[in-house]
C-alpha cells in the first residue's frame, strides 16, 4: 500500500475547508502503540488513536489520565440510595404532607420508620444500582462527547476500517508540534501504511430560520397534551364514562341488601334459594364478633344493666314496636331494668374514647340525629318533609338534648343503641360493644355541652362525666 496515496478531498464546496488533522493508518495494534509512544516522545500532545477494540497499553502511550467516572458514579449512587429511603419513609411512615399527603399505615406488624428499615432495603438497593447505572452509562457518553454525528473523520472512506481491522493515529493540526509536511514524514517513519488528511467543512451550514421557528412551535405543541390533561383533571364531564371492560364494571353478582337468586320464572310465585329471600345470609344466632369474644361473660358490659333483663315492653323494641312507648321512656309501670349509671370498668373514660365515639357517632347516628344531636339529621329532615306530604310514616328522630333522654342512665342509652327504639333499628350487629359505649360517652359529652359545638368542650365534659 503506497503511502503517497492522494488525500481524498470530499466535495467540500469551494475553498472553505480547513485541515483538522492527519490520520495515519497502521495494520496491527502493536505498531499503533509504538507509533503513539513515539509521537508522545516527539512532544505531540493533541492526538488520538482509533482502533476496532481497546488496545492495551495505549492509555500510557498517548498519556490518557484515569477517568473520574467512578467518583461521579459513586456520588450519584449515594444520592439514589438516600432518595430511596426518604421516598419510602415519606410515603409509608408518615402522614405529613408537605407536597402530597403521605400514607402512614401498619401492615403485618412491621414497624414504621427507622426500625422498619429491613423492609426498605430491597428498594434502596435497587434504586442505588439503577441510579449508578444511569450515571455510568450517560456519564460515559457525556464525557466522550457522544453522540456526535457530524465528525469529519467519517468522511474519510479509509477510516471506515477503524471499526473493522485497521488502527489509526490522528495528529491534530492545532498541536504546537504539528507541521503538515514534517508530521507526515514522521508518521511514515513510524510505520504508517497510509496517511489521510482530515478536513473540516467550514462553509456556513447554519440552520435556516424557518426550521428554527418550526422547531420552537413544535416544542410548544408538545406541551399541549400535558397541559390539556392537567386542565381535564378534576373537571366534571357531562357524558358517561367509557366502559372499556363491561364485565368488570357490571359484574354478574348479588350485592348485599338485594334479593337473592330466584329459580322460578313465574313472577307471581318466586322460588328463592333460601327461605329468607335476601342475597346475603345473616350470621347464626348468638354469633359474636371475633374481637368481642369473651365479652359475653361480662354481662353488665354487654347488656348495660344489672341482673334481670328488662321486660319486653321496655327493651328489645324493633322497628315494629309501638312508637308511643319511646315517647315516654321511663314509664314507672313497666318493669324497668337496673340500668348501669356509670360506665363499666372495661371502658376507659378519657378523651380518646370520646374521640372514637364521636367518629362512630358521625358515621352511624348523624344521618338521623344530626351532628349536634338535635335530631336534625338529613334523613330525618327529608323524612319529615315526606311525612308532611303524606308520603311516609316517620317518627321524628329524638333530640338527644331532650330532658327525657338526658335523664336516662348510660346503660339505658346503650340499650337503645343495641336494640333500637321505635323506628330506630338495632345497631348491635354493626357496632361492636366497645364502640357502642364510646358513642354513649360521646352522647353524654354532647348533652353536657348543650347545643354548643361539641369539639370545643371535650375536656370539661370528660371531667364532668368522671366524678359521678
Amino acid at each position: 500500500m503506497a503511502h503517497s496515496h492522494k488525500p481524498e478531498k470530499k466535495k467540500s464546496k469551494g475553498p472553505s475547508s480547513k485541515l483538522v488533522s492527519l490520520v495515519a493508518q497502521f495494520d496491527d495494534p502493536d505498531s499503533l502503540v509504538s507509533a503513539c509512544d513515539r509521537a508522545r516522545r516527539e512532544g505531540y500532545r493533541k492526538m488520538d488513536a482509533y482502533s476496532p477494540f481497546p488496545v492495551h497499553g495505549i492509555d500510557d502511550a498517548i498519556g490518557i489520565r484515569r477517568t473520574r467516572l467512578p467518583f461521579f458514579v459513586l456520588a450519584i449512587a449515594l444520592c439514589g440510595c438516600t432518595f430511596a429511603w426518604v421516598l419510602q419513609y415519606y410515603v409509608n411512615s408518615t402522614d405529613e404532607s408537605p407536597l402530597f399527603p403521605g400514607y402512614k399505615f401498619f401492615i403485618s406488624g412491621k414497624p414504621l420508620g427507622v426500625a422498619g428499615i429491613p423492609a426498605n432495603i430491597p428498594v434502596m438497593f435497587e434504586l442505588t444500582v439503577l441510579s449508578s447505572a444511569f450515571a455510568a452509562f450517560f456519564g460515559m457518553w457525556i464525557l466522550n462527547n457522544l453522540p456526535r454525528f457530524a465528525n469529519p473523520l467519517h468522511r474519510i472512506s479509509r477510516f471506515r476500517r477503524a471499526t473493522n481491522d485497521r488502527f489509526f493515529l490522528e495528529l491534530n493540526a492545532d498541536d504546537e508540534k504539528f507541521n503538515e509536511n514534517r508530521s507526515r514524514q514522521q508518521l511514515e517513519e513510524w510505520g504508517a501504511t497510509a496517511i489521510e488528511e482530515c478536513h473540516l467543512d467550514t462553509t456556513d451550514h447554519a440552520i435556516p430560520k424557518g426550521f428554527k421557528m418550526a422547531g420552537v412551535v413544535l416544542m410548544f405543541a408538545l406541551l399541549l397534551p400535558p397541559a390539556l390533561i392537567y386542565r381535564a383533571a378534576g373537571m366534571p364531564y357531562p357524558n358517561p364514562r367509557l366502559h372499556v371492560v363491561p364485565d368488570m364494571d357490571w359484574q354478574d353478582k348479588f350485592k348485599t341488601q338485594t334479593v337473592g337468586p330466584n329459580f322460578s320464572s313465574d313472577p307471581l310465585n318466586p322460588s328463592y334459594l333460601f327461605e329468607d329471600p335476601q342475597a346475603m345470609r345473616r350470621p347464626v344466632d348468638n354469633t359474636i364478633a371475633r374481637e368481642d369474644y369473651g365479652m359475653q361473660f361480662d354481662e353488665e358490659f354487654v347488656n348495660g344493666f344489672h341482673g334481670e333483663a328488662p321486660s319486653p315492653e321496655t327493651g328489645g323494641a324493633g322497628p315494629n314496636a309501638a312508637a308511643a312507648q319511646d315517647e315516654v321512656p321511663a314509664q314507672p309501670q313497666v318493669v324497668e331494668a337496673d340500668w348501669l349509671k356509670e360506665f363499666p370498668s372495661q371502658v376507659n373514660v378519657d378523651v380518646e374514647t370520646i374521640a372514637r365515639g364521636q367518629q362512630r357517632f358521625e358515621i352511624y347516628c348523624t344521618p338521623c340525629h344530626g351532628y349536634d344531636g338535635n335530631g336534625n339529621g338529613l334523613v330525618n329532615e327529608r323524612a319529615v318533609a315526606l311525612n308532611a306530604n303524606g308520603l311516609a310514616q316517620w317518627t321524628t328522630a329524638k333530640s338527644l338534648h331532650d330532658p327525657a333522654v338526658k335523664s336516662q342512665p348510660v346503660g339505658r342509652i346503650f340499650d337503645t343503641i343495641t336494640h333500637g327504639r321505635a323506628t330506630m333499628g338495632p345497631y348491635k350487629d354493626q357496632i361492636p360493644v366497645k364502640d357502642r359505649w364510646a358513642i354513649v360517652m360521646y352522647v353524654r359529652a354532647l348533652q353536657e355541652t348543650g347545643l354548643a359545638p361539641p369539639a370545643a368542650a371535650l375536656p370539661p365534659s370528660e371531667t364532668a362525666v368522671e366524678p359521678k
Binding site: 502503540v33 459513586l74 403485618s108 406488624g109 412491621k110 429491613p118 423492609a119 432495603i121
Partner: protein, 426 residues
C-alpha cells in the same frame, strides 16, 4: 511494554527455612499461656468449664471455618483451571492442611461430651429443654443430636477434610519435584467430586458445630452463612500470610501487587456476599416473624440497652459489612500493601466477632428461649475471650509451621506458574 517473565522462581528464600523450628515452640508457649489465663479467669464464673469451652469454641470455629475456606479456595482454583493465583495457592494448601491437626484442638470440646462433663451443647443432657418441653420433638432431635452420632460425624468431617487437603497438598508437592503437568490435570478432575463432598460436609458441620447450640432453631441458609464468612476469612488470611512472609524476606518476587489486588477484590466480593447472605437470613426471619425462628435473632438484638448484644449486632453490621465495603472499594487501598495488612487483620477480627455473635448468646439460653436483659447479658470478657483467642492463634501458628516445615511456599513447577507470574489486572 512489559517483558514477559519466564515461569521460574527467582526469590532467594521460598520456604520458612529453619526459622520454623523457633516458631513452633513460641506458638505453643503463647498457646499455653493464653489458654491458661483464660481458664484461670473462667474460674470466677458459675460454670468454669462451660464458660471456658464457649470461649474456646468461638475461636475454634473461627479458625476452622477459615481452614475450610482455604480448602474451598484450593478446590475451586484447581476446578476452574485458574492461572492467576498459582503463586498464592500453596499458602492456601498449607492452611487447608491444618484442618487435620485442628481435630486435636476439638478434643477439649468432644472428650467431655463423652465423659459427661460437657455443658456446651444443650442436647447432650438427657432431659434437655429448649423453650417448651415437648417429648416428641426432643425424641426427633435426639435421633440426630446425640453424643455418639455427633462424634462419628465429627471424625468423618475431619477425615474427609484432611484427606482432601492432603491429596491436593501432596500432589502439588510432588509436582514441585517432578514438574509433571498431568498432576494439575488430575487435581482438576478430582476437584469436581471433592467440591461436592466439601459442600456436603460444610452443610452438616455447620449444623452440628454452631446451629445445634440452639437445638430448636433452624435455618436452611445457615451453612451458606458459615461458608461465606469462612471464605472471606480465608482470603484475608492468605493475604495476611503472604504479606508477613514477604516482610520477612520470603517469596519476594512471586507474589506481586497484582495478586494482592485480586485477593482484595475477592475479599471485597465476599464481604458483599456475606452481607447478602446475612441480610437474607435475617430479613426472611424478621419478616415472617415465626416464633420458632425469631427468638434466635431476638436474643442477639434485644431492644434493651442493658444487653450489649444489640450493639454487638450493630458492630457486625457496620464493622463486618458497611465499613469494609467502603474501604475496599478504592483501587488505591486494594493495591497498597500497608492498607491490606491492616484490612486483612481487621477482617479476621471481624470474623471472630461474627462467630462470637453466633455462639456466645447461647451460653445463657440453652434452657430458655424467653430471655430478658437480665438473663442474657453480653458475655464478652476481655480477660477470658481475648487470651483464649490469642492462645489458640498461637497454637495455630505452630500447626502452620509444622505443616509448612521447610517446604516451598510457592509451587515451583506448576504449568500455569508463568501465567501467574505475568498476571496483570487490566
Amino acid at each position: 511494554m512489559h517483558a514477559r517473565r519466564p515461569g521460574k522462581i527467582t526469590s532467594p528464600v521460598v520456604s520458612l527455612s529453619t526459622s520454623y523450628v523457633k516458631l513452633i515452640p513460641l506458638g505453643l508457649i503463647v498457646g499455653a499461656v493464653g489458654l491458661g489465663v483464660a481458664f484461670f479467669m473462667s474460674l470466677g464464673s458459675d460454670n468454669t468449664l462451660k464458660r471456658f469451652s464457649y470461649s474456646y469454641l468461638v475461636t475454634f470455629c473461627s479458625l476452622l471455618s477459615m481452614c475450610i475456606g482455604c480448602l474451598f479456595f484450593v478446590t475451586v482454583h484447581n476446578l476452574t483451571r485458574a492461572g492467576w493465583g498459582v503463586t498464592v495457592r500453596r499458602i492456601a494448601e498449607i492452611i487447608a492442611m491444618c484442618t487435620l491437626p485442628m481435630f486435636l484442638l476439638f478434643m477439649p470440646i468432644l472428650i467431655p461430651m463423652f465423659t459427661g462433663h460437657a455443658d456446651v451443647y444443650p442436647w447432650v443432657e438427657d432431659n434437655w429443654t429448649d423453650g417448651e418441653p415437648n417429648e416428641a420433638f426432643q425424641r426427633l432431635k435426639d435421633t440426630y443430636l446425640n453424643v455418639n452420632w455427633f462424634g462419628i460425624r465429627m471424625v468423618a468431617y475431619f477425615t474427609i477434610w484432611g484427606l482432601m487437603a492432603w491429596s491436593f497438598f501432596g500432589a502439588s508437592l510432588r509436582q514441585d519435584v517432578t514438574a509433571d503437568p498431568q498432576l494439575s490435570r488430575k487435581m482438576q478432575r478430582s476437584a469436581t467430586w471433592k467440591m461436592i463432598v466439601l459442600a456436603a460436609t460444610i452443610v452438616f458441620s455447620s449444623f452440628d458445630l454452631e446451629m445445634s447450640l440452639s437445638p430448636r432453631w433452624f435455618s436452611t441458609m445457615f451453612p451458606v452463612y458459615f461458608f461465606a464468612g469462612g471464605v472471606l476469612s480465608a482470603f484475608s488470611v492468605i493475604t495476611l500470610t503472604s504479606l508477613l512472609l514477604q516482610r520477612s524476606g520470603r517469596v519476594t518476587d512471586e507474589i506481586t501487587v497484582e495478586h494482592y489486588h485480586d485477593l482484595a477484590k475477592l475479599m471485597f466480593a465476599f464481604v458483599v456476599f456475606w452481607g447478602y447472605i446475612a441480610f437474607s437470613q435475617f430479613m426472611l426471619i424478621w419478616y415472617a416473624n415465626l416464633p420458632e425462628e425469631t427468638f434466635w435473632f431476638r436474643c442477639r438484638m434485644a431492644d434493651t440497652a442493658s444487653t450489649g448484644w444489640k450493639y454487638w449486632s450493630l458492630l457486625l453490621l457496620f464493622g463486618h459489612l458497611l465499613i469494609p465495603i467502603l474501604a475496599l472499594m478504592a483501587r488505591t487501598v486494594r493495591r497498597n500493601k500497608t492498607y491490606l495488612l491492616f484490612a486483612s487483620i481487621y477482617l479476621l477480627v471481624m470474623h471472630w466477632i461474627d462467630h462470637f455473635w453466633i455462639i456466645m448468646p447461647q451460653y445463657n439460653i440453652g434452657s430458655d428461649n424467653h430471655i430478658t436483659a437480665a438473663t442474657n447479658p453480653l458475655m464478652f470478657n476481655w480477660l477470658i475471650d481475648v487470651p483464649c483467642a490469642v492462645g489458640m492463634i498461637g497454637i495455630f501458628v505452630s500447626i502452620f509451621c509444622i505443616v509448612a516445615a521447610d517446604r516451598p511456599l510457592v509451587p515451583l513447577n506448576d504449568p500455569r506458574l508463568e501465567e501467574s507470574l505475568n498476571y496483570r489486572n487490566a
